[in-house]
């Protein structure tokens, strides 16, 4: 029984955090709002050099051969810094999915390039009508319950616009799919992909929520009204205490979901639903309190807060909202309990 991370895992987290603190600041994020299609190949390359991009690719294909537990702290950092690049789609879902369920030919063709960062991959599941970063070299698309790994020549993309100006969403139609594109191996690849996407989204949400909470705590420490710092008001203190408890508890849930997925435990899908339901609610609360306690200033474009508010809002809903996951849990409880 050891519910903690190793020194190496923390070290990698710290390295990534340092990188993102320098190279993924609100200024960088804002630049993307004005640059449709914009991504930073530079930042992605640096993440690849740290082994982050190819973290989940088996070593035999040039990756780091690490797993969901190694990745979970990094996804939290991605949420904290609002990393725009597709760490979730590429590293948390598409690449390990290919390793899990791709044919040997697919693996050999793609995994080394996905690992090095030379090529990117994204994921489009039936539960989400839109595909983020669908301009990737490879898009794994769900059609009739099956997954197909498709290159751009087989796809038609319609670009969409999100209120979160850093998100790149597309409606995607596939020209042709066939035996050559199908991901046939492994246990139910579409479910595998969905659970990985939902767990990763929950983790990013925890990072977003933690960042919202931290910024708000810092703000109420400094903002004065009625002759004292507003952080001294009991109503403010209690809201933030409740929010901290939600965020901390969500952390327990997303870390365990990563462990359950990494070890293919039978309760992994439910651990994922616990994580996504709770993290969505926790982020929603942090999102509300952050704006409420910042007051008017948080409602201005000029203030950075909205960058987190919008990312959080989009992810609350992505890959099943809290109520959807609660329904999955209830079905499971009544199918298995007693």
């Amino acid at each position: 029984m050891d519910f903690d991370f190793s020194e190496e895992q923390y070290l990698l987290r710290d390295t990534v955090r340092d990188l993102l603190r320098r190279e993924c600041t609100p200024k960088h994020i804002r630049a993307l709002y004005d640059d449709p299609g914009g991504r930073s190949p530079e930042r992605w390359r640096k993440l690849a050099e740290l082994g982050v991009v190819g973290l989940t690719v088996p070593e035999e294909y040039g990756g780091s051969g690490m797993n969901e537990v190694d990745l979970v702290l990094l996804l939290e950092e991605a949420g904290r810094s609002l990393l725009p690049e597709p760490l979730l789609e590429h590293t948390a879902v598409a690449a390990p999915l290919l390793a899990h369920a791709g044919s040997e030919a697919q693996r050999r063709e793609w995994l080394p390039r996905l690992s090095s960062g030379e090529a990117t991959a994204s994921i489009g599941l039936a539960s989400s009508p839109f595909v983020a970063d669908a301009t990737a070299d490879l898009v794994v698309l769900e059609r009739d319950g099956e997954l197909h790994a498709l290159t751009q020549d087989r796809l038609t993309l319609t670009p969409l616009r999100s209120w979160d100006g850093t998100r790149r969403l597309f409606e995607v139609t596939a020209a042709e799919t066939g035996d050559d594109t199908r991901l046939a191996g492994g246990r139910e690849p579409a479910h595998w992909a969905f659970d990985h996407a939902a767990a990763a989204t929950a983790t990013v949400l925890v990072g977003v929520a933690a960042a919202l909470l931290d910024q708000t705590v810092a703000y109420v420490q400094q903002r004065e009204q009625f002759g004292r710092r507003i952080g001294a008001f009991q109503a403010v203190q209690h809201k933030l205490a409740e929010t901290l408890l939600l965020v901390e508890s969500a952390r327990s849930a997303v870390y365990y979901a990563a462990y359950a997925l990494a070890n293919e435990l039978p309760d992994a899908p439910i651990a994922v639903s616990v994580a996504k339901a709770y993290a969505s609610d926790a982020e929603r609360r942090a999102n509300y309190e952050a704006l409420q306690l910042h007051g008017g200033i948080g409602f201005t474009w000029e203030h950075d807060l909205h960058l987190w508010l919008k990312r959080g809002k989009a992810l609350e809903i992505a890959y099943g909202d809290a109520d959807w996951h609660r329904r999955r849990i209830a079905d499971w409880v009544y199918a298995t309990a007693n």
């Binding site: 616009r161 999100s162 007051g295």
Partner: protein, 395 residues
């Protein structure tokens, strides 16, 4: 207790309804553009206000001499209800009509009423509210904008923020500190100022939804005649509290608006795909729709109770905070429900293929959250309720 309309009120309602129906084309013409885009688009809304005024609908409760028709509060509520149902255009001079005008009727001089009321009703003067400052939000009384007497004038210097309609405004009612030595609630005056006067500068404030519905107003030795002080000099706090009472109690948050939002949300649930069906089949969505129905219905009922009280000569004191707290929190839940009904489509923005109502739902959701902040945050309303309605101790 009687919810039936009297024959006069029913006739009034029919008249409103008939007039709005006759003007349906004009309404659509106005609503086809967004006044926030300014210029001719704004002027189209102003023109509409003149049409309303000429037909006697500009300010129905006002005395005839100022362009009203002396209607009762019940009739005013009927007018608003019909107006919202007919999708009447935004009332661009609502701060003048709903906040300043009733304040002037209570606290203004005959000259002030004479000078402004008709112009407000005719939309010749667009009014702004100059209360909040960067460092005086919830703690409004800590405001620093100062006005110094100089001959027959007051000279105003300072900064206001969160000024709705700021870029369109002609006049502004400003809370200024006129006695820096008095306790903070004491040395404040409520002053009317021409926004076209030298020394008044307006900068639009871009919000998180990309709109610029608010502005910052910078006063640099702007002059306004001393006759523009409403109420006594240094006693503007009392006047401002009246204005806030109108804002919290009846000036915003009309039941008809929330009923319309609910109808739209229900419609959305029928059309929004969810789990192979539509959102209207989802038991969690249904529960939230039912709760939204309950809350909007009760808001309507509570508003009618308040109306009866006022019609019988009662007043709305700190109880206005109950109203503001109720509708702003309800509005936030309603708009959040809309987001969840839209699901992944919720985040699609203006100009995006597939964006429901061109992304306006999201914008409304953000405004609903701002509603819990402006006109007194929910926290401030709760302080007022606890201390001034329940009588709990101040510290």
């Amino acid at each position: 207790m009687d919810f039936e309309l009297s024959p006069e009120d029913a006739a009034f309602r029919d008249e409103v309804r008939g007039w709005l129906a006759e003007n349906r084309d004009q309404i659509e013409h106005v609503r086809a553009v967004n006044w926030e885009d300014g210029g001719e688009r704004f002027e189209r809304y102003r023109e509409w206000e003149r049409i309303l005024f000429d037909a006697g609908w500009g300010a129905v409760t006002w005395p005839k001499e100022y362009g009203g028709r002396g209607a009762s509060l019940v009739q005013q509520a009927l007018f608003t209800d019909e107006y919202v149902r007919a999708k009447g255009p935004d009332r661009i001079n609502r701060l003048g009509l709903n906040l300043l005008a009733p304040t002037l009727m209570l606290h203004g001089t005959a000259e002030q009423r004479e000078a402004h009321l008709s112009k407000i009703a005719r939309c010749d003067e667009i009014w702004c509210q100059g209360f909040s400052e960067p460092n005086a939000g919830s703690d409004l009384a800590s405001l620093r904008t100062r006005a110094v007497r100089d001959g027959d004038d007051f000279v105003i210097t300072g900064q206001k923020i969160w000024t709705s309609l700021g870029v369109f405004g002609d006049w502004i009612f400003v809370l200024c500190r006129t006695n820096p030595d008095a306790p903070k609630h004491k040395g404040i005056s409520f002053i009317l100022c021409d926004m076209h006067a030298p020394g008044v500068e307006v900068r639009p404030l871009v919000q998180i939804n990309g709109d610029a519905r608010f502005a910052e107003i910078f006063f640099t030795e702007a002059r306004t005649p001393a006759s523009n002080v409403v109420g006594a000099v240094d006693e503007g706090w009392r006047v401002a509290m009246t204005t806030l009472g109108f804002e919290r109690g009846t000036g915003l948050g009309s039941p008809a608006v929330f009923n319309r939002i609910l109808d739209e949300v229900v419609d959305l649930t029928r059309r929004s795909p969810r789990d192979g069906g539509v959102a209207a089949d989802d038991p969690d969505i249904r529960r939230r729709v039912a709760q939204a129905y309950i809350e909007t219905r009760i808001f309507e009922l509570s508003s009618q109770r308040t109306l009866t009280r006022l019609a019988k000569g009662g007043t709305l004191g700190p109880e206005a905070s109950l109203t503001k707290l109720y509708w702003s929190e309800m509005e936030a839940r309603l708009e959040e429900l809309a987001m969840d009904v839209l699901g992944p489509r919720a985040e699609l923005a203006k100009g995006s293929p597939g964006a429901e109502r061109n992304g306006d739902w999201y914008s409304e959701y953000l405004y609903a959250r701002a509603s819990m902040i402006f006109a007194g945050t929910s926290e401030v309303q709760k302080n007022v309720i606890a201390q001034r309605v329940l009588g709990l101790p101040r510290e």
